[in-house]
Symmetry: C2
Subunit: 158 residues, 2 copies
């Protein structure tokens, strides 16, 4: 018994009845740290899925890009996100849209987890990782470099 398919109660600590807490990605497939994935809503009659990702304090998602778009709402905690060349502080209920083919990454604050909802097309392409040359180009921007290296104090909450 995995709970009613039409009603899944939120349990404490951002877990849901009948929803498995999954590995973010296959270990070793891409760089990431301390992040988990829960598929909250996936239904054959819905063209999108709603997932919940959570990073522990200091954790981060993979720096990647793809054709498909992410619609994100921060649900828990605080951190920063990179979208293209923009680094922004994010907090509960902030909305972030990741446009097609845009490098992006989420990072939890040093002392707090970061959890977010992510709406995504059920049919979608696989993410790409940056090549060495692409990564070097991304690092040209000092603010982006500070974000990618986890030097969050340099980002001064902007």
């Amino acid at each position: 018994m995995r709970g009613s398919p039409v009603h899944r109660q939120a349990q404490k600590d951002y877990r849901w009845e009948g929803v498995d807490r999954l590995a973010y990605k296959e270990e070793g497939s891409a760089p990431f740290k301390d992040i988990s994935r829960q598929v909250l809503i996936a239904d054959e009659n819905l063209a999108c899925e709603l997932r919940y990702f959570e990073m522990a304090a200091g954790g981060y998602s993979t720096l990647e890009r793809h054709e498909h778009v992410h619609g994100v709402m921060i649900l828990r905690g605080r951190g920063h996100c990179l979208v293209g060349n923009e680094v922004r502080a994010v907090a509960e209920r902030d909305l972030v849209t990741i446009p097609p083919w845009t490098w992006h990454q989420f990072r939890a604050a040093a002392g707090e987890p970061l959890g977010f909802l992510c709406m995504v097309n059920a049919k979608r392409d696989k993410p790409q990782l940056p090549s060495e040359d692409e990564l070097a180009a991304i690092y040209q921007n000092p603010r982006v470099a500070a974000f990618l290296d986890g030097r969050m104090a340099e980002l001064d909450g902007a």
Copy 2:
């Protein structure tokens, strides 16, 4: 200037930068009470939209059904929902899926607002209201009747 399209900051009281607070439906088109609508994420590259609906204390959405499916997460407050013949108490972060052609309604608790995220296909059919005969059939279930009449004390939090 409506804020960055990729980053919309949550303001206090469940409003978002650059997102209009809209009427729930056209006045007089269907029964509802004290409910507003905000379209949080709608993008030509996403097959779904993410909306936020909020009812003031004692408010309710329209009793209706349609072919399209709703994927709901409660974001604020407490209340009850009707899905088919089931009446359930809902609270923050609970998930509710409304299957196709299923009568449904949300009601805020007497003393608290109820706000929820609703994921829905961008292309979808229009809702149907119950006929008099259908409404009489729905009222056959005493628990459903108590819900529809707003006699929430009779639902004993189940």
